[in-house]
């Protein structure tokens, strides 16, 4: 793990990269990384996240600043700007049931090719997907999602990169941290090793490539 200034962390992300970002309606989203992606005017990113938040917050900032080309999310209903850009063919949107989305991201990070889920069977979601019967019950084969960069926000990060999360800001973050080729984390507090007890570490340090320095 390396500690990097904010600008250097985001400079690693090229235009056109595929990013997976923690957060649920911006709660638990690494806001400083979002602001810096906007400031560095990244373009044509593919975003994998739970939702597109609201204008002006979380990944909604990336929508506002037109950093995105394609989004894979479960919900865009809270962000009229995403809907406007979708209808204007400025971005493309793949809507995935939330439980399927988190499992596809998990599969990506856990070395699985995909998962079998009953969610979506018999609905529009099953179009073009392989259906597999197990013990007489139909499941959809939903394939794994991986990303070039995982952007994570923790409550605590220690000097080695162990992470712990707070309350409902945990959400996608620990799963996202498994599924990025490069993992960049921000934290509310950067603390000495040992402050997070081994049993309270949620994301172990070897997963985390970069902690964004304070300041």
């Amino acid at each position: 793990m390396k500690t990097v200034p904010l600008a250097d962390a985001v400079a690693m992300i090229p235009d056109g990269a595929r990013i997976v970002v923690g957060g649920f309606l911006s709660v638990g989203t690494p806001e400083r990384l979002m602001d810096e992606i906007v400031r560095q005017e990244k373009r044509d990113l593919t975003l994998i996240a739970n939702d597109t938040a609201r204008p002006g917050v979380g990944v909604g900032k990336l929508v506002d600043a037109r950093c995105l080309r394609h989004v894979i999310v479960s919900h865009i209903g809270t962000n009229p700007e995403t809907q406007r850009q979708m209808l204007a063919d400025e971005i493309t949107v793949e809507l995935v049931p939330q439980g399927t989305l988190i499992e596809r991201i998990r599969a990506g990070g856990y070395g699985l090719g995909g998962v079998l889920t009953p969610t979506g069977v018999g609905t529009l979601v099953e179009e073009g997907k392989q259906k597999i019967e197990i013990d007489g019950r139909p499941y959809l084969l939903e394939t794994a999602l991986k990303a070039d960069f995982a952007l994570v926000h923790a409550f605590l990060a220690d000097y080695l990169g162990n992470l712990a999360y707070a309350l409902t800001a945990r959400n996608y973050n620990p799963i996202v941290a498994m599924s990025g080729e490069t993992v960049i984390a921000t934290a509310e507090h950067i603390v000495p090793v040992g402050v997070i007890a081994p049993d309270h570490v949620v994301t172990p340090a070897p997963l985390v490539d970069y902690i964004v320095a304070n300041g």
Partner: protein, 216 residues
């Protein structure tokens, strides 16, 4: 009584101590407010919280303690927080005892449509498909009609949320249960007649042997 209050009050009577319950947005959210005081249920928020409490007192909100709509909530004694994979494992895995969902249409065989209106409203399904597919019991809370049209139809014209039929729908007029592909009228609201319900319903209704007035 306000139609939404009738619906929420009736559904609140289905709550039992110890149940794990997920409430959708809209009318379902109101159900929590009518839970009998002696009934202690665990409310599940899909963003990763069991033991969701009321809206915090002024000045006590925390930005990392929110419900699935992103609103500040409190956590009750015994609450727990967890990641989204666990949260949806609870839903799909049949660990949620009851979910109450809003609806655009419910059809005669119990199919629910509640996530999109093609060409008009495409917000995304969020967690609705997982809940409708995996919760042990699914109750839909919705008004009986919209713009004079029955929302309880012969066959859904809107895209369905799950192939798995719901257990029942509660409206301001009636409670209708679904079994073996039939819509069974089990309860009618006070001051509503069976004929009123039939007239307001496009689906064919079978009358329950135990048809009675809704207690609210």
């Amino acid at each position: 009584m306000d139609p939404q209050a009738v619906i929420a009050k009736r559904i609140a009577r289905e709550l039992r101590s110890g149940m794990l319950v997920n409430l959708g947005i809209g009318i379902p959210t109101l159900v929590a407010g009518y839970a009998p005081p002696d009934v202690q249920v665990y409310f599940h928020s899909e963003n990763g919280l069991i033991g969701t409490g009321a809206i915090p007192a002024e000045g006590m909100a925390h930005p990392t303690l929110t419900d699935a709509g992103g609103r500040p909530v409190t956590a009750l004694p015994g609450a727990s927080t967890f990641d989204s994979a666990i949260s949806f494992g609870f839903m799909r895995g049949g660990h949620v005892d009851l979910t109450v969902l809003g609806g655009l249409q419910v059809d005669q065989s119990g199919h629910l449509a509640n996530w999109m209106i093609p060409g008009k409203m495409v917000p995304g399904m969020g967690g609705a498909m997982d809940l409708a597919t995996g919760a042990k019991r699914v109750i839909v809370a919705m008004q009986h009609t919209a713009k004079g049209q029955s929302k309880i139809v012969k066959s859904c014209t809107l895209p369905i949320t799950s192939a798995r039929p719901i257990d029942c729908v509660v409206t301001e007029l009636a409670m209708i249960a679904f079994s073996n592909g039939q819509a069974v009228l089990t309860e009618i609201a006070p001051d509503v007649s069976v004929d009123d319900v039939i007239a307001a319903t496009e689906a064919d209704l079978v009358l329950s042997h135990d048809l009675h007035e809704m207690m609210i």
